[in-house]
Symmetry: C2
Subunit: 286 residues, 2 copies
């Protein structure tokens, strides 16, 4: 039934924030038969019902999950693990569960350690989002043209992976990419977590603020844009990917030290080459 991907079965979406509600909207567009919305916040549930993007609403898990074939969890990483753990007895025996969290290895290892063999957990990470959070900003178009990453584990059946992949393509994603949880987390440490670490560190740097505003220009604004950050979420993302992020921070400090050494030794030849390299690499990115 699941394999033909016509969504003719019950789907539960856990967490109706920006991401969860966008899944609901996209699935409704594809005529999903019945979507159950689960959220702690009853106001959010009412909004989702009012928007017509869910068919029934629950503010806590329960036996109703026994009828649900497919569960999408759009919570913070720790809450994702905790939700699955707390509902093992509620899930249908052959349920497929997917998530959307930005760190994969720790979430998947944790879930796989207690998930019964009959159930499938497919790690997912849609490379989509918005600057704002909350159901108000939900939009099925966030998936359009995005890359959808699936991080398969050895336990995953091909049919279950294909089911999630098909959904992503029907949402309008450009590509589905299959990457190991480890590789995913290494790349994310460099391309997303490190820039967030840099932005917050630069913003918090201890300086004499006397003339600060006068001197703020485009380069400072760009470098600190994400210093306005969701503290709770990013604390989880950083601490749940600690080894890989520490590696990237150390690599970055070495890269920065090359500049420092060049300045200290007045090595203009090496510094110019360093800038030429960075220009060549940056030019390749839009």
């Amino acid at each position: 039934m699941l394999e033909d991907c016509d969504f003719d079965f019950k789907i539960a979406i856990v967490g109706l924030g920006l991401i969860g509600a966008s899944y609901a909207m996209a699935l409704k567009k594809l005529n999903a038969k019945h979507i159950i919305g689960i959220d702690k916040n009853s106001e959010t549930l009412n909004k989702a019902l009012h928007m017509g993007i869910i068919d029934s609403a629950y503010d806590e898990p329960g036996k109703y999950l026994k009828d649900v074939d497919f569960v999408i969890i759009a919570l913070y990483p720790n809450d994702t693990i905790n939700f699955i753990k707390a509902n093992i007895q509620n899930f249908k025996t052959n349920v497929i569960i997917t998530d959307t969290s930005g760190v994969k290895e720790m979430v998947m290892n944790s879930v796989d350690s207690f998930l019964p063999q009959s159930m499938q957990f497919i790690g997912g990470h849609p490379m989509a989002g918005r600057e704002y959070k909350g159901i108000e900003y939900a939009d099925e178009d966030i998936f359009k043209g995005a890359n959808y990453i699936i991080t398969p584990s050895k336990r995953n059946k091909k049919s279950s992976i294909d089911f999630v992949a098909n959904m992503a393509m029907k949402f309008g994603c450009k590509n589905v990419e299959y990457i190991s949880p480890h590789e995913h987390d290494s790349m994310i440490a460099y391309t997303s977590q490190l820039p967030h670490a840099i932005a917050t560190a630069l913003m918090n740097q201890n300086i004499d603020k006397k003339y600060f505003e006068l001197f703020i220009g485009g380069s400072f604004k760009d470098a600190t844009r994400v210093a306005f950050i969701n503290s709770k979420l990013w604390t989880e993302l950083f601490t749940m990917n600690s080894d890989k992020l520490i590696d990237e921070i150390e690599k970055f400090k070495k890269s920065l030290d090359r500049i420092k050494d060049d300045i200290e030794n007045n090595n203009t030849v090496d510094l110019e080459q360093f800038f030429k390299n960075s220009s060549t690499l940056r030019k390749k990115i839009n």
Copy 2:
């Protein structure tokens, strides 16, 4: 004559790139009597003549400078110093010279070491610019609403400082700020040079590029935008402000190490507080 600021005298602009040509345009708008353009590149000079923003053109310095009351130098820092040094004999005895370079202490100390007492060098830094370089992108509007920083030295006469300040205000600058060369360079090291160091270091960081493009998101793009950089100019800016930039790099590494320590020790309380601080500070900037 100079004090009434009606530009009824000869002005020379040295270097007709984006900045120099924008000065020429702004001064022409204010009916400057005669603008001499000086540039090594004869094509640039022809363009400037064709655009009607200069009245005469020279591709090298010479005796014609004897009639010039006001010289604006829009060259790289080292070329600024070298141009003044090479033309001491050519300048009018009571000439006023200003510059536009992004580092001030080393330029001013150097110029003041050989400039005759009768001549005035007023350090200037219009906080204006464009992403592109060259006369094609010149625009008198770059000054509109910008802050114009003047870094006075003890040798500067008030009347000469006021002359440059009046010009800036007539260009449409929002404010003229007077800051010591030392303070200017300290602030620039933090708000401009450090973000450029970060961007180039992050871009040059040694990583496995296999999935790189798939993972590039907004935070990485923002953090590396200025990694596409004018290598020669920024090599000068960095090495001519070495002590202050090294200070800022060290402060930044300490700030980044707080994140690293928090992750290593799983100190989620401190990390959340760090993110809350950065959010509060970033929110104050547009």
